[in-house]
């Protein structure tokens, strides 16, 4: 019996454009989840801490959020949260065997991507 080779070849296709919609939903769910853990979560807690701490702290953050660059970051964060939210609901439904067959799963994946973008647009409209 011959020894197994120590290193096996790996064929990673890291081009996200090659992924079908369910794959895109999946990888964005993972990336948005990681980014929500860091840096979004500690920043959110810090904002909560300072805005509740004093009226000056609240005013300082309110002024900070008026900056266009900050608004863009808020909108990007909103997209991460919205995508994670809708993708998560899709996974909950899949766990319940709702929409489990391939065409339905493809449709719901597109719905998640669209809902994430539409709700981000709504938040962008509110923020601006």
């Amino acid at each position: 019996m011959s020894a197994a080779p120590k290193t096996r070849p790996k064929y990673y296709d890291l081009n996200l454009a090659h992924l079908p919609p369910p794959g895109l939903v999946s990888i964005f769910h993972r990336i948005s989840g990681a980014l929500l853990f860091f840096p979004a979560l500690p920043i959110a807690l810090y904002i909560l801490h300072t805005t509740l701490g004093s009226a000056e702290g609240y005013a300082r953050w309110a002024a900070f959020f008026d900056r266009p660059a900050v608004k863009i970051i808020v909108i990007l964060a909103a997209w991460g949260y919205a995508h994670h939210f809708f993708a998560g609901i899709r996974y909950l439904l899949l766990d319940l065997h709702i929409g489990i067959d391939k065409p339905a799963a493809g449709t719901s994946a597109i719905a998640v991507l669209v809902l994430g973008l539409v709700s981000t647009a709504a938040i962008a409209w509110c923020v601006w």
Binding site: R30, G33, A34, L36, F37, L41, P42, L45, L48, H49, T51, L52, G53, A55, Y58, A59, Y81, F85, G88, I89, L92, D95
Partner: protein
């Protein structure tokens, strides 16, 4: 003859428990998210006295704590899954997992301090 496992292959069941709690915490967070979005839409524009007063309500403090506690458990399962997938050297992975768990516990205490510490 059927091949027998040397050990119980389903182990301590923590996989199923984490899987289930990942989903349960997701439902808690989704409910809180919808509630907060509706509350903000109904009370725009937001100001400091209103912000301060809603966070002094007992039910909202408890709800927020429940949301953050759910988030931390959810984040633990998610980050552990990510680390298990991409960080193969055991020592580095365990160090990072320890770091994640420590940071999450820190956030839990911080949240309690923000909500009740003043």
């Amino acid at each position: 003859m059927q091949k027998r496992y040397a050990k119980n292959p389903v182990g301590a069941h923590y996989g199923v428990r984490d899987w289930l709690l990942q989903r349960l915490t997701a439902v808690v967070m989704a409910g809180y998210t919808i509630f907060v979005i509706l509350a903000i839409l109904l009370h725009r524009p937001l100001n400091y006295p209103a912000w301060k007063s809603v966070f002094s309500e007992m039910w909202f403090q408890v709800g927020t704590m429940l949301f953050v506690a759910s988030l931390l458990y959810h984040a633990w399962v998610g980050m552990r899954d990510i680390l298990m997938d991409y960080i193969k050297p055991t020592g580095i992975r365990l160090t990072l997992q320890f770091g994640v768990a420590f940071v999450l516990l820190f956030y839990l205490v911080w949240t309690a301090a923000i909500l009740w510490g003043r």
